[in-house]
């Protein structure tokens, strides 16, 4: 059967499952819409969190970046898993004990200020929208390949589907659907990896295969990879870092802290029955995430090896353009892969030297989707990967849109501006907010500030610099005042946005860059994607200094901080 037909069948079938579940569990009341009626088992919650968490960035984007960054790509692997340790120890159990719906609600109460709550809402919207832009890039790539059109058409199609999908569900639909999505995406990620690992090394576990010898030889896969990339003039795969040690440190820290500051992840821990479940939920989520994250470096290394071997089947003998495989042609249609026969010899030269290199464009975000085709795997596997990529992108986009819409309708409208609106009006407002967020993010997704994973990393940096520090100080210190928290958030996100926009342009529009004379990465060689941890340090410092010179928090707030430290007396999951 034709590949495209199989893809339609597999993708159509998985979508039917998600939508079926969403309708079956259709949200009734507003409370259910936000936190799924409380009382979700920690294993189920962990699985749903993992689906929510692993987005287009993890599924579609990350391995492609690692494949071309080598060791430097480790920042994503450590950064996007290590945050769960912080989350489990420093935030989740205490926020669950406190028992509110949203992150801004906690910040507003702990810092006894509606201004603090509003600032938190704004920070949350900035992070989430940036995050959705990254998803839109991934969705655009996946749909363009799947429909065999250009990237823009793929993106528009994706926007429409995301909208219907998110509006239909609400959290309850989303929680059960996300469990289904997790299953689809993890199978779609690991099955081709197992196939490829078997092909190359004979070991069915990609995690072990990456450290094994190639079939029929005594050469280790990674040694061969190092040798091949260096022959082409690239730097060594297993040792080349990302810019500098300091930059790698900052990048990893930004992603870790950002993990523990992203509202759509934190909100998950409001939905477990007990405080102790909040702790273990983080562990279960991490296990489900680690299955993909420990497979990703194998996917990356093996795909890089396969691409090089496709283009240069034997040393000095390059692939003839007329004989290039179908996957080449298919991806050329999307505009995300381009070749240019510079020396007119009818073959594709691949080299680190730009003047000779004829693989002129290879969008990193196509690698995971193209991977099974590159390795000549059966059509059903290729179709499954397309379905998995869409599941990852859709589930996260839906979770984020929910966080954005609940911030606007619940925190801003109901909480502050229009306290008297009815549940129905609140629900309607949240849907309008979702639609606007999709259109805005989709528009910016036409010219994203980087590859999917890079754009998402920016969102993490913004969360790291704004939300995480005040949450942590709010829990661990009795002394941080309203003024301190507000000044900290504004300073942290302000400095980070200043640095990011200076590099990428205001609202990521490249024409709107400023102070270009400073050069790139001018602050200690740290790139904008890694700057969130500097923003976090500023946030902490400003908050602590300002708190020292302003009046101490009232007695009841100090008692509240004491109270959230012990699990006993936690309210039953907040919705009943």
């Amino acid at each position: 059967m034709e590949l495209q037909t199989i893809t339609y069948i597999v993708v159509g079938f998985t979508f039917a499952i998600y939508i079926g579940i969403a309708i079956w569990a259709r949200a009734g009341s507003t409370k259910e819409f936000y936190v799924a009626g409380g009382g979700i088992h920690p294993v189920a919650n962990g699985m749903a969190t993992a689906a929510d968490w692993m987005s287009a960035a993890s599924f579609i984007g990350m391995a492609g970046l690692i494949a071309f960054m080598g060791y430097g790509g480790s920042v994503f692997l450590m950064g996007w898993t290590g945050g769960y340790v912080i989350l489990a120890m420093l935030l989740a159990p205490y926020l669950r004990k406190y028992g509110k719906f949203t992150v801004p609600e906690f910040i507003g109460d702990r810092f006894y200020s509606d201004t603090a709550r509003t600032v938190a809402v704004i920070c949350l919207i900035i992070c989430s929208v940036t995050y959705v832009i990254g998803q839109m890039k991934g969705i655009g790539v996946a749909f363009s390949r799947f429909l065999e059109t250009d990237y823009e058409t793929g993106l528009y199609t994706g926007m429409v589907i995301v909208f219907f999908y998110a509006v239909l569900g609400g959290m309850k639909g989303i929680t059960y659907t996300q469990i289904a999505q997790y299953c689809v995406l993890i199978l779609a990620y690991t099955i081709p990896a197992i196939f490829i690992s078997l092909q190359l090394t004979g070991n069915p576990f990609p995690q072990l295969g990456l450290g094994s010898t190639l079939v029929g030889t005594d050469t280790y896969l990674l040694d061969k990879l190092d040798m091949m990339v260096m022959d082409l003039g690239f730097s060594e795969y297993t040792t080349t870092g990302r810019l500098s040690t300091l930059n790698m440190f900052a990048y990893t820290a930004s992603l870790m802290i950002g993990t523990a500051g992203l509202p759509h992840v934190i909100i998950r821990f409001f939905t477990v029955p007990k405080v102790k479940d909040a702790r273990s939920s983080a562990g279960w989520a991490l296990i489900f995430i680690a299955i993909l994250y420990t497979t990703a470096p194998a996917v990356a290394g093996m795909a890089r090896l396969n691409i090089m071997q496709t283009i240069e089947p034997s040393p000095g003998e390059y692939l003839k353009i007329d004989e290039r495989p179908d996957w080449f042609k298919n991806w050329e249609t999307t505009g995300l892969l381009e070749i240019e026969d510079k020396n007119g010899d009818g073959r594709i030269q691949y080299s680190a030297d730009e003047s000779v290199n004829e693989l002129v464009k290879l969008d990193r975000d196509i690698l995971v989707l193209a991977n099974p085709e590159i390795a000549n795997l059966p059509n059903w596997v290729i179709a499954l990967v397309a379905a998995g990529g869409l599941a990852a992108a859709l589930s996260t986009a839906a979770g984020l849109l929910l966080a954005i819409s609940s911030a606007i309708s619940h925190d801003l409208l109901k909480g502050m501006l229009l306290p008297n609106i009815s549940e129905k009006q609140e629900l309607r407002a949240s849907r309008v907010a979702m639609a606007l967020a999709i259109v805005g993010a989709g528009y910016l997704g036409l010219h994203p500030p980087g590859f999917a994973a890079g754009t998402v990393a920016l969102a993490f940096g913004l969360a790291a610099s704004s939300i995480f520090p005040v949450l942590m100080m709010g829990i661990f210190s009795r002394k941080i005042t309203r003024e301190g928290a507000i000044a900290g958030m504004v300073a942290g996100i302000g400095v980070t946005l200043f640095y990011v926009f200076q590099h990428k342009g205001i609202m990521f529009i490249p024409e709107w860059r400023y102070l270009e004379g400073l050069g790139s990465n001018w602050f200690m060689g740290i790139e904008p994607n890694a700057f969130g941890c500097i923003g976090a340090v500023i946030n902490f410092t400003v908050a602590i200094v300002v708190s020292k010179v302003t009046a101490a928090p009232p007695e009841r707030i100090q008692a509240l901080v004491e109270d959230i430290r012990v699990p006993v007396g936690a309210s039953i999951a907040q919705t009943h």
């Binding site: 060791y71 450590m78 290590g82 094994s212 990674l222 440190f249 405080v275 102790k276 562990g283 006993v568």
Partner: protein, 89 residues
Amino acid sequence: MSNLSEKNAEEYWRRNKSLMVKLGVIWFAVSYGFGILLVDQLNAIHLGGYKLGFWFAQQGSIYTFILLVFYYTWAMGRLDKEFDVEEEE
């Protein structure tokens, strides 16, 4: 509000913090330490086809994180029992 006297609450919190610090040190060591700062030194050692520093950065740190979270959950469960601050079943 709870079954805790003030002194016990302080002790409970102190024990919790000391656990967090211990696990935090391991968390830092396997990622920032072995995976980034000491990567070149560790790369001299091989684990199959993996250079050890590279392995910590792309595999080992993640496995350790999982162990840390589950250990924390288990240890805190024990602490909650000891201080009688568990939630009612």
